[in-house]
């Protein structure tokens, strides 16, 4: 058991990060190459200025009309995406582990605060799931995979929360926590989570078509 834990906390972390970053890099290179081969016109239309203009406009909370029309969803979704990165990166116990391995560290979130934020992430995921059941147009689009994706993201946060409080089976929960965190990293490049890479690209393209050719706003 100990050697298994050593493995998932050591080499497996490396493997996960390599697959995550490597996978996204390969995907990006693949997309750029395919654009050159099959749709080179895209390079004639995409401009840095209009790409950034559009991505920027869509990053400002409640700026696009779409966001103002669905403020609850956008508000929750916005916070959710921020927390998704913020909580794991600034969690004291994660920083301790990194410090042990690399002798680097950065300021950590207060444990209590992190605990609440973790609950926030879980609540947001529950909201997404409920919305998939309750809102007809979302329900119509939803398939089993959408719930699987929600569960996958929820797992590391839920187990992290339980592990922190050490209420039950601490050891097992920790193992699941580590494994599910690694699993999420590994599947990012191969699932719709890869929108973390493709969304800026599609937005950049649409932003350029609107800004450069259509000379209109796209938000």
């Amino acid at each position: 058991m100990n050697s298994f834990i050593a493995f998932i906390m050591g080499p497996m972390v490396w493997i996960s990060f390599i697959i995550f970053l490597g996978g996204l890099t390969i995907k990006l290179v693949g997309i750029l190459k395919a654009v050159r081969q099959k749709e080179p016109y895209i390079y004639s239309y995409v401009t840095l200025k209009h790409s950034l203009r559009s991505i920027g406009a869509w990053m400002i909370p409640f700026f696009p009309r779409s966001a103002r029309m669905s403020p609850v969803y956008y508000g929750i979704s916005y916070l959710f995406h921020v927390l998704l990165f913020l909580v794991p990166l600034f969690l004291a116990s994660h920083i301790v582990l990194i410090n042990e391995a690399f002798q680097i560290s950065w300021p950590a979130l207060n444990d209590q605060v992190a605990d609440w934020l973790t609950l926030g992430v879980i609540a947001a995921l529950i909201f997404f799931a409920v919305r998939r059941v309750m809102v007809p147009e979302v329900k119509f689009l939803t398939g089993a995979m959408d719930y699987v994706l929600i569960l996958l993201v929820m797992l590391p946060f839920l187990t992290g929360f339980l592990a922190y409080h050490q209420w039950i089976a601490y050891r097992w929960i920790t193992v699941i926590h580590i494994l599910s965190g690694e699993l999420v990293l590994i599947i990012i490049p191969f699932s719709r989570f890869s929108h973390m890479l493709t969304a800026p690209l599609t937005r950049a393209y649409m932003g350029s078509e609107f800004g450069h050719v259509r000379q209109a706003k796209d938000w």
Binding site: T202, R203, M206, R214, A216
Partner: protein, 445 residues
């Protein structure tokens, strides 16, 4: 505003039905695979893989809003019901599936691209629907009426089977009539080296010759050095662009630009049409490998703006009735002309009220993207599918609706009639013609 979607009978379209009869499962699979694999690339892949099924695009679509938020009409659902299924089955889809797919792509989407402004990822569902139309075209199941306009384009290079002599006759007849107003007015044909080639869509000579008269008056009064081509290539409309017949669509745009090149004009000015503008400013040029159009293409809205701000045309007395303005997708969302349009309206009219939402966010007229061109059999459902537009218009309390686009104009005329709105509908050119000083511009005067 009564009609429920279920009350609309779905017509059978002879072209779709006979096309479906001819199809075999093999042929269906081949065509779908060919288009989805060979004619698309990473853009398509990214759209399909990136969509998070969040449903935010729903708010964008006038079809969804008009049909009491029926999920079937939301943008991503149209992709689910067509493309996702084709991909899942690798092209092995049934004829019933295709019958539904044609309707979705041709009659339940205006290709207006409003949804691209509501999807956080900017997924272009209009592009995906045009891809479905491309598949339908290759399967030869395009709706009958719009296919007929493409056939006309293919034979005559204009949309309405206008014969070459009919075209010239119409221009001469309008020239003659307009001489009542200006005795030396001319519609100069094939004047090589003129500054401007003026171009229109085929319905003008066919049904609305008065618009040619008005345009000629405007050009003459403004003292422009202009010309119109007497040969095919005069029509800037392009229905093939909307049926996925890219080859013919490209031919039309090419003939158009070649005509301008033959006349060695400096720029092209076109009448109040949205889709025609999209064809020569955005799509047709691309098919012919021009990143941007090889000529400066000036839509009527921008041209009016130029004439009025330069003082080439002056307004005698502003139009009095309360007017509102419909922003045609293809020139507002498609070319950002909405601000100029407002300036022109304010220069010409006394009492202007906005409809909301407006500018880039305006609802489509429900006729564009080739929908109205699918013909009378589909008019009833078109009216149901555009209830939000009627509500939007009614809320303005305006007496006159300005619709500076041919498709919008016809579509909105139907909407006004169907929903019994007490409104007149006009082109912006109509109002300028009515209010302008009928005298010839003299520089420095």
């Amino acid at each position: 505003m009564t009609d429920a979607p279920s009350s609309v009978e779905k017509p059978t379209d002879p072209a779709i039905e006979s096309g479906l009869d001819r199809l075999t499962p093999d042929r269906i699979r081949q065509v779908i695979q060919q288009v989805l694999k060979n004619e698309t690339g990473p853009r398509f892949k990214a759209y399909v893989e990136t969509c998070m099924r969040c449903g935010l695009c729903a708010e964008a679509c006038s079809y969804f809003l008009s049909n009491d938020r029926d999920p079937q009409f939301m943008p991503a659902a149209k992709v689910k019901n067509t493309i996702w299924e084709m991909l899942k089955k690798d092209g092995d889809v049934s004829k019933d599936f295709l019958r539904r797919a044609v309707r979705i792509a041709h009659l339940e989407c205006n290709a207006c691209k409003r949804c691209a402004m509501y999807c956080p990822f900017g997924i272009d569902i209009a592009y995906l629907m045009l891809l479905v139309r491309r598949i339908c075209h290759k399967l030869e199941i395009t709706p009958q009426y719009i296919q007929d306009t493409v056939n006309s384009h293919s034979v005559t290079l204009n949309q309405m089977w206008v014969k070459d002599d009919e075209w010239i006759d119409t221009l001469q007849w309008q020239e003659e009539d307009a001489r009542d107003e200006f005795e030396d007015l001319q519609i100069p044909l094939d004047k090589v080296g003129a500054d401007i080639m003026y171009s229109v869509i085929a319905p003008e000579p066919k049904f609305q010759a008065g618009l040619l008269y008005q345009a000629a008056t405007l050009m003459h009064a403004a003292g422009m050095n202009w010309t119109m081509p007497s040969t095919p290539g005069w029509d800037n409309s392009n229905m093939a662009m909307y049926t996925g017949d890219n080859e013919i669509s490209g031919r039309i745009a090419r003939a158009f630009f070649e005509t301008a090149a033959r006349l060695r004009v400096k720029r092209i000015v076109m009448g109040e049409c949205g889709h025609a503008f999209r064809s020569v400013y955005d799509m047709g040029n691309r098919w012919n490998s021009w990143v941007m159009p090889p000529f400066e293409v000036v839509h009527a809205l921008a041209f009016y703006h130029e004439l009025l701000t330069q003082g080439r045309i002056s307004i005698k007395e502003k139009y009095k009735k309360k007017v509102t303005l419909h922003d045609p997708c293809n020139v507002s969302r498609g070319r950002g002309l909405h601000d100029k349009a407002r300036e022109v309206v304010n220069m010409v009219c006394e009492d202007f009220v906005e409809m909301t939402p407006n500018r880039e966010h305006n609802y489509c007229c429900g006729a564009g993207g080739g929908v109205i061109n699918c013909g009378p059999p589909y008019k009833a459902e078109r009216m149901v599918n555009n209830r939000v537009k009627a509500e939007q218009l009614a809320a303005t309390g305006a007496d006159v609706l300005i619709a500076p686009c041919h498709n919008c104009h016809s579509g909105l005329e139907d909407v006004i009639q169907h929903y019994d709105l007490k409104m007149e509908i006009k082109f912006l050119g109509d109002l300028i013609y009515d209010t302008m000083e009928k005298k010839i511009y003299e520089p420095g005067a």
